[in-house]
């Protein structure tokens, strides 16, 4: 069963991935991937890194429609 702590942990993990791939430590849980210069290529890097680190597979379209760590964490919970 997934609890709020698990979602928070996933969100935190995703924030770290966002910061690393977008090369910007100011990214927060609510930051949109697009507002930080996201491109198709960086999206592909995010998806790969997310899969490697969390074991979760996120389709491209899901990231596009849920571009912040918080949105994605809620969806993946």
């Amino acid at each position: 069963m997934t609890g709020p702590e698990d979602v928070a942990a996933l969100e935190s993990e995703l924030v770290g991935i966002w910061q690393e791939v977008l090369l910007d430590p100011t990214v927060t849980a609510e930051s949109s991937f697009w507002d930080f210069g996201g491109t198709s290529l960086t999206a592909a890097r995010l998806l790969s890194t997310t899969r490697r680190r969390t074991g979760r597979t996120v389709p491209f379209e899901v990231l596009i429609r849920n571009p912040s760590p918080r949105q994605l964490a809620c969806l993946l919970q």
């Binding site: 697009w34 290529l41 999206a43 592909a44 890097r45 998806l47 389709p59 491209f60």
Partner: protein
């Protein structure tokens, strides 16, 4: 048979059309452009605010099949509406979506809806190879400029020699070959690489389709143009020009008002 209504059920509309959230009904406004990944861009942003009052369907372009192309694809789009008993009462086309918007209206046949085009663009070999270059530009930090320029030049030659699904497959294959070392360096895995290439393929299908459809003596209801954009020579209709650069056209209040007036005139 009772007509399906936009908003009653997403399943009522075959996958080629995506309802923007909001009103339901059988008489709809169609939005035709290549769907930007960002919901705050393109026709989704322009027409989204109207979706609370009238049903708006946007063409889904995130996973176009590398198959029929041209008129075959247009026939699929029109069939999707007919199967759901939906009636287009206004078609809005933007940029490269201009030619598909006109083709949809023509394919609808009798009782064809009015068509409004915003900065309609002619898609040619140069446009397509330019967009391949734009995709490669994302690899610029890792791929030498000479390699990118060579690939774009090859793409331009290929655009002259090939068409339809063959052209799309060739261009995507070249992009993938050029990008593979970069993907490896950036730890982009095979699944993400495939998704990246599928999205490029979808975009190229849209462009190649627009190129093949063209604009042969099209008369449209209205042309809304940015300050320096000229419509294709074979497209005619009343012109309304706005004092904005192209990138600002869809955000312009005057454009929004013109679209609002057209929606009102469509009497949905």
């Amino acid at each position: 048979m009772v007509n399906a209504r936009v908003g009653d059920s997403a399943r009522a509309i075959p996958g080629v059309w995506q309802p923007l959230d909001g009103a339901s009904g059988v008489d709809v406004v169609l939005a035709v452009d290549f769907e930007s990944a960002r919901p705050d861009r393109g026709l989704t942003a322009l027409l989204g605010p109207f979706a609370g009052q009238v049903p708006v369907l946007r063409l889904r372009t995130d996973a176009l099949p590398v198959g029929p192309g041209g008129q075959g694809l247009v026939a699929d789009w029109v069939d999707g509406l007919r199967q759901s008993r939906l009636r287009p009462r206004l078609i809005v086309g933007y940029c490269a979506g201009g030619a598909p918007a006109c083709a949809i209206a023509e394919a609808w046949g009798a009782d064809a809806p009015p068509v409004i085009l915003l900065d309609p663009e002619t898609v040619d070999d140069r446009t397509i190879s330019h967009e391949v270059g734009a995709a490669l530009e994302q690899l610029a930090d890792f791929l030498p400029a000479t390699d990118r320029e060579r690939t774009v030049a090859e793409a331009r030659r290929t655009c002259r020699e090939q068409d339809g699904p063959t052209l799309v497959r060739t261009l995507v294959q070249r992009y993938q070959e050029s990008g593979r070392p970069v993907f490896a360096e950036l730890a982009v895995d095979a699944q993400a690489e495939a998704a990246l290439c599928a999205r490029l393929a979808s975009y190229l299908v849209f462009l190649v389709t627009a190129r093949s459809l063209g604009y042969s003596d099209r008369s449209v209801t209205r042309l809304l143009l940015s300050a320096h954009h000229d419509p294709p020579a074979t497209v005619t209709g009343p012109i309304e020009r706005f004092p904005v650069i192209r990138a600002g056209l869809l955000d312009d209040p005057g454009v929004r008002a013109a679209v609002a007036a057209a929606i009102e005139a469509a009497d949905l």
